[in-house]
């Protein structure tokens, strides 16, 4: 019996680990979307973060530089999106798609000399406690610092949006850019900042994959997680705490699917993998049907171009 309990503990621990990239990317995208910008480039920014983090780790042999560098590369690549959508007023959807397509291509190009190089062990915290405490050990301890950060991030994001003045500014810009602008808020600047922040978080999410989760570089290794993160923001109806819950559900499905494959379960695994997408569509329908519900958290100006006559 004790064996079963410890197995469940390990299972929960691995679900948490698989949800980390989703939490990071979705929390970043959530801030971007709350400012009224729809960036479909999440997948592209993540994969750029993954290759730059891994490449910097191999070149400098320093994990700190690798992590910071991956976030910076996410920021830089999201700057392309920011410049196009905010300064040149391009369509958000098309620009975001271009960013994803471009990012996947560029990462493969940059990463061609890094395929097959083994990764490095990432330091984990409290590893002694992990073994000594049954059940709770593998859940609470023995993770990387990025995981702990990811699980705190939604609460920080929630605090930022609800309790700080800057958070209010972000929401105002997303809900009504024209009145925000009339209040003297620099809408374009706020949106730039939110886009770059989203890029940084997506970069970090990518680095988590290539440095910690599966420590190596594989072409296209984000494998659609960016799109799931995008779905997650909608699934969570733009609420940071629900992002955390949704990420655990979506991450849980991906882990469960592996275990069911291993024991030869009869439900087709494809159905399980499709669940996050189907659940997102259902949530979308439920919240969109009732206009009051969607107005609660949805940034009203999402995806719309803001232009102020100078």
């Amino acid at each position: 019996m004790s064996l079963d309990i410890s197995f469940i503990g390990i299972l929960i621990g691995s679900i948490m680990a698989s949800s980390v990239p989703l939490i990071l990317a979705a929390s970043g995208e959530l801030i971007t979307e709350r400012s009224g910008v729809l960036n479909l480039g999440v997948e592209g920014m993540m994969i750029i973060g993954a290759i730059s983090g891994f490449a910097l780790m191999v070149i400098t042999d320093n994990l700190f530089i690798a992590i910071i560098g991956s976030m910076l590369s996410g920021v830089i690549i999201s700057l392309i999106f920011g410049f196009l959508t905010q300064s040149l007023l391009t369509n958000h959807v098309a620009t975001g798609l271009a960013l994803t397509i471009f990012g996947i291509g560029l990462s493969a190009m940059l990463g061609k000399d890094f395929v097959g190089i083994p990764g490095k062990d990432f330091p984990i915290l409290f590893s002694s406690l992990r073994e000594s405490i049954p059940f709770f050990g593998p859940i609470l301890f023995g993770h990387s610092i990025i995981l702990y950060f990811a699980f705190v991030l939604p609460f920080l994001t929630n605090y930022f949006l609800k309790k700080t003045k800057l958070g209010l500014v972000v929401r105002a810009v997303g809900d009504s850019p024209i009145s925000a602008s009339n209040q003297g808020i620099n809408v374009i600047l706020v949106r730039y900042c939110c886009i770059l922040y989203g890029g940084g978080m997506c970069g970090l999410a990518g680095a988590y994959l290539s440095l910690i989760y599966t420590p190596q570089w594989i072409e296209n290794m984000t494998a659609g997680r960016g799109w799931i993160a995008l779905a997650l923001v909608v699934f969570a109806t733009w609420s940071p705490i629900k992002v955390l819950i949704g990420a655990i559900i979506f991450g849980g499905i991906s882990i469960l699917q592996l275990h069911m494959q291993a024991v030869g379960f009869r439900i087709p695994v494809q159905f399980l993998i499709a669940l996050p997408y189907l659940m997102t569509i259902i949530v979308l329908v439920v919240i969109s049907r009732d206009s009051r519900k969607i107005k609660l958290n949805t940034p009203t100006s999402l995806g719309r171009i803001f232009y102020k006559e100078k």
């Binding site: 996947i104 190009m109 799109w227």
Partner: protein, 363 residues
């Protein structure tokens, strides 16, 4: 003292020449940008670009491959132009392509051991219907539940790919196929006729060309096309004019889905000849670039599909000769769209250089 003032003004009318000129500017900038990337990666940029854009079409086989890959891109982009022109953001053409291929492929598998002239038309119709049905999901959700079509159509891409995956490893997998994730080979009657011996270009190209002509006719010569264009320009005007918005949304999605479904069928009955996991190298997403590059104009789309098709071929050639990963094609595709969108700024805004004397400013 002279002061150079730059003033940016919104244009009231977009000059037509500039409208069709900017795609060429975008292509040139992409080639320059690609050269710079090749150079920074340590390749001779001229040589690399030659392998990319000239070598692939320097013989008849290469030219046939160019048309082969341009066919689905052109078809899907024609369909998408209906959606985009009316401000409906269907970005799930990849899913509609996949589902069309599933339905069409299902019909093909029913007749796997039969021959007959009626088989191929049945498959083609089934594929178009499959794509249409799949595109109706985001359309119905948008019209009746006010759901965002961008997100729904995107999510459905993955759903359709997983359905295909389930079918080819499960119930539809080839019983004599040693558990490979693929179906039986289709019968000869289920294959698109080849146009030339030993080249892969097939009759599907005529479907694409027909779509161009029909698309042009509907968009520019019919009342429906007029409605679509007006709705794209201003939803308020369209409502004021009394157009039935909901019906139009359903129609443009159905057209778009049918085109994507046809593209899917063209692939499986053309070069592939069976169903497996990799029936499309993201044609559905790349076609979005084609639609934009072709300025949502049916004839512009023909040209754009050839350009984008060349990036696919170039990537293959560069992989063989320069050992550059095939994904580089996407770098070029992404860049084309970046530059195109950026150059649109020239269209909608006028940059005025005002050369004023200081004393003039004082007045």
């Amino acid at each position: 003292m002279e002061d150079l003032l730059i003033k940016i003004e919104k244009r009231n009318d977009v000059p037509t020449t500039l409208y069709f000129l900017t795609p060429f500017i975008a292509i040139i900038l992409t080639i320059v940008g690609g050269g710079i990337i090749f150079y920074t990666l340590g390749f001779n940029p001229i040589e690399a670009l030659k392998f990319y854009f000239i070598t692939p079409i320097s013989n008849l086989y290469g030219f046939s491959e160019l048309l082969l890959k341009a066919t689905p891109l052109c078809l899907i982009a024609i369909g998408l132009s209906f959606c985009f022109k009316s401000n409906n953001w269907n970005i799930g053409a990849e899913g509609q392509l996949t589902f069309g291929a599933i339905v069409g492929g299902g019909v093909a598998l029913l007749f796997y051991n039969q021959e007959g002239f009626y088989i191929l038309p049945l498959i083609i119709i089934a594929g178009a219907i499959g794509g249409m049905i799949f595109a109706l999901i985001p359309a119905i959700l948008k019209t009746y539940f006010n759901t965002n079509e961008i997100l729904v159509s995107l999510m459905l891409v993955y759903v359709s790919k997983l359905i295909l995956d389930y079918l080819v490893v499960g119930p539809w997998s080839n019983p004599e196929g040693f558990n490979f994730p693929e179906t039986r080979q289709f019968s000869d009657s289920a294959r698109m006729p080849l146009l030339f011996e030993s080249l892969r270009i097939h009759a599907g190209i005529f479907i694409a060309l027909a779509a161009v002509l029909v698309g042009w006719f509907v968009l520019y010569k019919t009342y429906l096309g007029f409605q679509i264009k007006v709705s794209g320009l201003s939803l308020k005007t369209a409502k004021y004019a009394g157009f039935k918005g909901k019906t139009m949304i359903l129609i443009v999605f159905m057209i778009s889905g049918a085109c994507a479904g046809l593209a899917g069928v063209g692939e499986i009955t053309g070069p592939i000849g069976q169903l497996h996991r990799m029936i499309s190298p993201d044609y559905g997403f790349t076609a979005i670039i084609v639609a934009f590059l072709g300025r949502l104009n049916p004839f512009g789309i023909i040209f754009a599909s050839l350009v984008v098709s060349l990036t696919y071929l170039g990537a293959e050639t560069a992989q063989i000769f320069l050992q550059i990963p095939q994904y580089t094609g996407q770098v070029f595709q992404g860049m084309i769209l970046f530059f195109l969108l950026a150059s649109d700024y020239l269209l909608f805004f006028k940059i005025k250089f005002l050369n004023l004397k200081k004393n003039e400013l004082g007045h």
